[in-house]
Symmetry: C2
Subunit: 317 residues, 2 copies
Amino acid sequence: MSDLPLAIGIDFGGTSVKTGVLYRGNLIEEAPRIETQNFESAHPLIERIHETIKDLRSKHPRIEAIGVGMPGFVDFPTGMVHNLTNVKGWQRIYLKRELNQLSNLPVTVENDANCMAYAEWKRGSGRGMNHLVALTLGTGVGGGIVVDGRMVRGADFVAGELGQTSIDYQGPDGAYGNRGSLEDYVGNQQITDLAHAAYFEAGNPRERSECDPAHLSILGQQGDKIALSIWDKVAKMLSTSLMNCCWLLNPEAIILGGGVAKAGSLLFDPLEKHLRAQLSPAFKENLRLLPARFGNEAGMVGAATLALEEAGFNVDD
Amino acid sequence: MSDLPLAIGIDFGGTSVKTGVLYRGNLIEEAPRIETQNFESAHPLIERIHETIKDLRSKHPRIEAIGVGMPGFVDFPTGMVHNLTNVKGWQRIYLKRELNQLSNLPVTVENDANCMAYAEWKRGSGRGMNHLVALTLGTGVGGGIVVDGRMVRGADFVAGELGQTSIDYQGPDGAYGNRGSLEDYVGNQQITDLAHAAYFEAGNPRERSECDPAHLSILGQQGDKIALSIWDKVAKMLSTSLMNCCWLLNPEAIILGGGVAKAGSLLFDPLEKHLRAQLSPAFKENLRLLPARFGNEAGMVGAATLALEEAGFNVDD
């Protein structure tokens, strides 16, 4: 191993906190997870996270920075977490300052979907690109955007929220009153609901637990017509938000990760078809639709890479 | 007048070409318009435009650059115009090179909506901002985007096309096969159609010519309920695309110009309501919805300002 620095990447999820040591985008050690429901407020949980950090630093003395990906809006410069919906006591928590005081290391705090996008941009499928849209498709839909070789954060550091964009101006209210929001159409539960209803209507009912994206992938691979029609429908809905990104931002590539993207060509083939059918020849030939390189470790990889870059290290190696 | 440079701004429209001399965003002389239908191909029209440029330069010797806004996609670095739908013979025309060879001045060629956005950013309602979305609402809907203090052009210089983004994934095919494209809902003709149908259905039919946005503004100011309901509907549809831009880009301001935006508070009041009802508290308070400063001269102002900046002059004065 060379002298290149290590970093700690923390993926703070709704149910557990993952903490790992990263070397050039490779996870070389992951600590035991911390369950968030064991904590009634933010500060004890932050102290518990710092215990894990201390353990990892005792084994890896060359750790130079700490990056944290959070499931909510973050004020990027101050590292203040606005609010977490699924974890108790997280309102306006200055996580960057607290972890920095505890660890004496440079700390970067960023939205989790931006961390995933950052991982793909710096270490994954989007390496070397200057214009990029990255999505993570799971229970919700997260996103991150790169324009002109910079992560787009916007005026209040809230940019990149593809899951909140609308595909139907007359659709139902989303989490923020946003009508027809993408994640209310192509989230895990919504895909499962679509499939469950389709099998029922076809006179071939299946248990709801056998209609989730993982099962739909197996069924699709077996040539099941209903499963294929659901993937086509998901692709059609998803293509609308992706097309909007193409017309607004004209990226070189769109990168898709998360559990739903594991469907592979079952999703990507109809998505290519629906997407390219809605773009101009002036740019559709150059556009690439790519699977994410990273899976569950994407958040840790992105947070660690971003933290190193913010601390002044060159991560474009 | 100080020693600050002058520039020629050209607004190349579907029916006529407007050419003016600009001083710090002020139109100090406009040449007679050139009608595009008098020309069967690109090169005679380019030579005719150059005649106008020569006339203007003979009167204003300190002209330092020429900027052109085009109603179509432009390859920004080379200034090649891909294709014009409404003007004969414009396919892959290297306009920048041709005008540069004729004039011996630095020439910049850009999409017209980007020029409008550039005018508002550098000289108009968006001055000093770093994150901006600008729209022009007329027969079609054009747009331009500024992120982190730079115009967003994208990988193939096609970015910013708000009018082509979708508000309904099941909507009718747009100009590029893009289903439910915004300009097919809130373009001049579509607003007129909506109003015409609404008056008919209400048992109060009006001539179609009295249902256009200009008439609807007068009717709305008089408190006409149907006109007000149409403006509310237009605002609701338009808010969907603007909301998408907010979630993706989190701009400081959205600037609205063009004929339809002349409706003023009839459009802006319901638009504020629909837009803010679909955003997070994390950023909706800071967002500003602003009318454009420039009207018909926006294209010339933006093209001239951009040309000066590209030629190395400081336009942030």
